[in-house]
Symmetry: C2
Subunit: 220 residues, 2 copies
DNA sequence: GACATATTCTAATAATCGTTAGAATATGCG
DNA sequence: CGCATATTCTAACGATTATTAGAATATGTC
């Protein structure tokens, strides 16, 4: 008979992961890191928190081995310690969306039309993008595009869209995506495009969702 | 521009799920509930905690909508509120096993040979069981077998094995499974069987792992 | 309807966690 | 080697959480 104490140790270890993902701010940091590696400074700015606080949260995430740090010149870059961490974030968010009515209501208020994709619509979108029937644009900052993006998508960061809008074909459907269902960049991009007469829609997927669905990302 | 405050609300909702899975005891309760529905009393006994404490933890899990309760006669039965919750438990445990060296070490100490399965070995095992080349036994309590079990597995609860050992063929390989990688019942079953001259081995999978791998369970 | 029993609620304590501010450390650059 | 700057460490506070014990509630049975 194996001792209770020993068994408790196992659950305690898993609870370390649970504790790491029990704070809203840490979840936000994980989502940002799922877009690619970032410095503490960039993370703090993105999450709108103090650098010291960001550092403290990153320390917790690092202790749970969900992220790893590497010094790169004057800055320290953090990244997720594996694709499974990104998948865990997607899984947590999906369970929350599925079971917490409050979250559903909040999301409906923020995003008029939540376009959730399934396996089939994902593959069909990729096929249409490959053929050029639609233009898929990645409206995240260009460094996030560089660390992985949807196949056949082109980079068109939100704050460059107005200057570069002529690059987009006026006769084709534009499909915008950003960091995922909680990110508002694609919605803003669609609003801008529609103002200028383009046919545009957004999808809820970001690269973490795409990857968690078992589909490949492009790197170039 | 959408307000920070609104965005924070989204992460707070997901963090509710994170908080729910940040306690070792709650994780243990989730794992037990992944085997089928149970009363508070049964859960407390299984996790070796006070009924009052079990009730308090269940309240937290219920608030996060990970479990739901239903009155059934004198007892109140709890169950997971969806298969995605069971998959979340598997996902958390897998991330922990992958990234936390401490957990790997602890598991190696407890379980001599951790037999982790991949997609191929799972299908091949099911095929061999179907043909009758191996006998797959489910050593969990019979009510857990009844709420779902591996295909072609027969129920042989750990505390009945010695009386019923004659039912097993002496010339075939016996494969035992229980609740999952953290459960010690299959290891104990294998030890008993080997003592009596049977060829036996265990697998790490329980029904949650099997299901999370996308494979079907049997109900009968 | 009253009793027995299972479960939850309330209250209280100790322990833990999030956040902030100030000091300390480490690296790159001159 | 020393300066500038990015990052982390330390200390402290208020807020939250886990656990326990006792009281209260709800259901089934007689």
């Amino acid at each position: 008979m194996i001792k209770r104490h020993t068994k408790d140790l196992l659950y305690e270890q898993v609870a370390r992961i649970g504790k790491a993902v029990s704070s809203p701010k840490r979840l936000e940091l994980l989502e940002i890191l799922a877009q690619g590696e970032k410095t503490v400074e960039a993370l703090a700015a993105e999450a709108r928190i103090d650098i010291k606080l960001a550092s403290a949260h990153l320390k917790v995430l690092k202790a749970a081995r969900l992220v790893e740090a590497q010094r790169d010149g004057r800055f320290i870059a953090y990244r997720l310690s594996g694709n499974d961490v990104s998948a865990l974030w997607v899984n947590l968010r999906t369970v929350a969306e599925e079971h917490l009515v409050e979250l559903k209501v909040a999301m409906d208020q923020i995003f008029a039309a939540p376009e959730n994709l399934n396996a089939e619509t994902r593959r069909s979108l990729m096929e249409k993008a490959r053929r050029g029937d639609v233009v898929v644009i990645d409206v995240r900052p260009s460094d996030e595009y560089a660390s992985g993006h949807l196949p056949f998508a082109r980079s068109m960061p939100l704050d460059e869209i107005l200057q570069r809008i002529k690059e987009l074909p006026a006769d084709k459907e534009i499909v915008a995506y950003c960091r995922g269902p909680f990110c508002m960049m694609s919605a803003e991009a669609v609003a801008l495009l529609k103002e200028h007469g383009y046919r545009a829609q957004k999808i809820a997927d970001g690269t973490p969702e795409w990857q968690a669905a078992g589909l490949p990302l492009a790197e170039s």
